[in-house]
Amino acid sequence: MSNTITQSLAEPVLRPRATRLRLVRQRTRTAWFFLLPMLVVLAAVAGWPLLRTIWFSFTDANLGNLTDYSFIGIENYLLYEDGMWYGVLADRLWWRAVWNTLFFTVVSVSAETFLGIIVALTLNAKFRGRALVRAAILIPWAIPTIVSARMWGWMLHDQFGILNDIFMTLGFISEPLAWTADPSLSMWAVIMVDVWKTTPFMTLLTLAALQMLPSDCYEAAKVDGIHPVRVFFKVTLPLIAPALMVAVIFRVLDALRVFDLIFVLTSNSSDTMSMSVYARQQLVEFQDVGYGSAASTLLFLVIALCTIAYLYLGRKRMGGY
């Protein structure tokens, strides 16, 4: 058999059609064989559980006993009974969670993008100690989310937190603030920690895009005496926009499913509760698998829509794939 392959590779012109077809078919079969382990794992860990979650959302399943349940239609989503609306879609807390998640996503991703670009532009300049700074900005990224939530929880402590101390010394505030407990501040505390933790990611991706830029148009701009700020908006930003867009969408999808940071920093407070925190609370703490699955399914739909948008945008860029 190896003989035929040798021949076919050595003399491609003389290769008979039938042999070539057989070789292609054999290679395709090998490819699927190699793909099989990954596909099986992904089906077991993602595909099947997702289908089950969607199915559970139409049942009254309970976490204590997942085998004994009955189909109840869309009652978990919406139910009208005795003049009252029930279900996830009628729950004010759910809509609160949706609003919180969207607010968190928009504000933190915008802030991260803005800061990420500034830091990346700074690091793109050549200066002594650049490697050191570049290593330093990786630290927030490397720290586990739980640990950063705990660290900031301590720094934001209402009585002994260092942040209140700094702000009071600088005269920004006159008395200590309860960052994580005050309803009007807790969401901002969560956003602050998230921005701290994920700005490095934005910075690295922006920096990578910046370093791929051709230098000739900058030289041309310099010769023409164009102001650097103008160069940034007219040349740099449009050129890094595609890469930036991908990074933003990555972060948006990540922010929409935020769980651990909020869960640890402010626990189950409704002021900061995200869709993921809401769904998990119903599912695990209240043991209501049906209702929790309905919330999870809704979250999945939101993210699926964003993913489709991303794939649509990404397809244009991928080209070769």
Partner: protein, 290 residues
């Protein structure tokens, strides 16, 4: 100042402008450094404080008190959770790399119908919200008898490590020269031999990168670890740290929490600093090239 500067020579004005810009630039660098490093520095500082010193605010390390570390490391459940985290992360990396490598061979080297679809599925899975599979996965893990077992976590973690590994390794696999594979085929090597003897040695850098990123992701994971384990000795470290509590919500043992946090984070920070370049290239390959 303004009147003076009007009378200055243009070159002097330029010099002052230059100096101001340089100062602003270095202030910006300083701000970036402080912003990145200070929180972790403060955690280290706090971890060296005795519980009495905790309530005075210091900006510099004044004492080196190891009692918090002693307390944390003498808790068998914490040591056990460190071990669990290490086990779970290592196994997750091994499985992701093995299955990722075979899949990347198929996706990166062979032209076949359905390849684009498989790549799209892989990408779509990496975007999955983990909560969306929580109840279904809970059932699967129960059925496999892996509830409250670190192996159940290894299984569930592949949902986010495997797609990423496949995606990045495929990118790297496509860059390898075609002649290598042809030479291997001419020598009569089977696809398995080609993959593991010819491609794998060349892909080591990419595998180290993706392996590290998968390790960090698995080490940091929280939602599955919290949901699929029940007892203290089966937990991973993020859950252990999140669940450290004091007498009440208002009396958290912050010194101990910070000591545990530092223990968990220092290996990661060291890894990241050593493999800085690799990690950056992996992140950009996963996002920008993808």
């Amino acid at each position: 100042m303004t009147i003076q500067s009007l009378h200055m020579q243009p070159s002097t004005r330029k010099l002052i402008k230059h100096l101001l810009l340089r100062t602003a630039f270095w202030l910006l660098i300083l701000a970036i450094m402080l912003f990145s490093v200070f929180p972790f520095y403060y955690a280290i500082l706090t971890s060296f404080k005795s519980s009495a010193q905790l309530f005075s605010i210091d900006y510099l390390i004044t004492s080196l008190n190891f009692s918090n570390y002693q307390t944390v490391l003498s808790q068998t459940s914490f040591v056990k959770s460190l071990w669990n985290s290490l086990l779970v992360s290592t196994l997750t990396v091994a499985i992701s790399l093995l299955f990722g490598l075979t899949a990347a061979y198929a996706l990166g080297r062979v032209e076949f119908r359905g390849r684009g679809t498989v790549l799209l599925i892989v990408l779509a899975v990496s975007m999955f919200p983990q909560v969306a599979v929580l109840s279904g996965l809970f059932e699967v893990i129960r059925a496999l008898n892996l509830y409250n077992n670190p192996l159940g976590l290894v299984f569930s973690y592949t949902i986010f490590t495997l797609p990423f590994t496949v995606w990045v390794l495929t990118t790297f696999m496509r860059q390898l020269p075609k002649e290598l594979e042809e030479a291997a085929i001419v020598d009569g090597a089977s696809p398995v031999v080609t993959l593991f003897k010819v491609f794998m040695p060349l892909l080591w850098p990419a595998m180290v990168t993706t392996g590290l990123l998968a390790f960090i992701a698995a080490w940091n994971e929280f939602l599955f670890a919290l949901t699929f384990t029940l007892t203290d000795d089966q937990r991973t470290v993020p859950v252990a740290i999140a669940l450290i509590s004091g007498g009440s919500a208002y009396e958290l043992p912050w010194g101990i929490i910070m000591a545990a946090s530092v223990i968990v984070t220092v290996p990661l920070v060291v890894l990241v600093l050593i493999f800085q370049r690799r990690i950056v290239s992996g992140l950009t390959a996963g996002a920008v090239k993808g």
